[in-house]
Symmetry: C2
Subunit: 138 residues, 2 copies
């Protein structure tokens, strides 16, 4: 995700408007936990703007996803997480505490795709490891 001011600029270039709500959402994504849910962001923005609506959060997150500034992660939890890091990388999910960590990209993911997907156009590859973190193994 780019810095807040660049995001604001990108919004304007698309004919979208920069509102205080959106600025706060950008800041929450920049400063908060790394893989927040929409509700996480709602809570953290509410500390500054108590009346902001969850619908506004969803609206803005959808815009960011469409702009490619944020990745929507589906980690099998029945709700989406949003990742401000859009570089190629893998995820590691603790089935105990639901903590989500970033891992370096798999080097051969793309190679595998190349071998077995002749004729396809591969857009992206998602790799998620599920397990138990050191704390939760106990």
């Amino acid at each position: 995700m780019r810095p807040v001011e660049e995001l604001c600029q990108a919004l304007r270039e698309r004919g979208l408007k920069v509102t205080p709500q959106r600025r706060l959402i950008f800041e929450a994504l920049r400063d908060g936990a790394e893989h927040p849910t929409a509700e996480n962001i709602h809570h953290s923005v509410q500390e500054i703007m108590p009346d902001i609506s969850l619908a506004t959060i969803y609206h803005t997150l959808n815009d960011l996803v469409e702009m490619g500034e944020v990745m929507e992660l589906d980690l099998g939890e029945g709700r989406s997480r949003y990742d401000p890091c859009t570089d190629d990388h893998c995820h590691l999910v603790c089935l105990g505490c639901r903590r989500v960590l970033d891992l370096p990209p798999t080097t051969d993911g793309i190679e595998l795709a190349a071998e077995n997907t002749v004729g396809w156009e591969i857009v992206r590859c998602e790799v998620v490891f599920y397990g138990y973190c050191p704390n939760c193994r106990a």
Copy 2:
């Protein structure tokens, strides 16, 4: 997924009962498309037993997942798919027609995990490629 009769046996061993509904669901999983949704299975079983309830489908699928006979896939579609193949393998999803293909497992997924997840107990690794199939590229 094991043959229908073995599944029936496995149910009984767990104190669960073998009903005509469950048998039909097993057969639908065995014979039908490879990555069906709960609704897909409902439709195909309804051709033989029109009054079967969707709740029964979900109930049985949840049992099968718990028994490790079927994998629940979350491919970011807002609904689950169920995969009777529980061997280690990857998935290839067409963003156009939503077709889902199986791919061989990544050999180094586990290696990557071993290098970067000291102290963790890794349970499984899910790899999903998203793209456009030859038909949908046009």
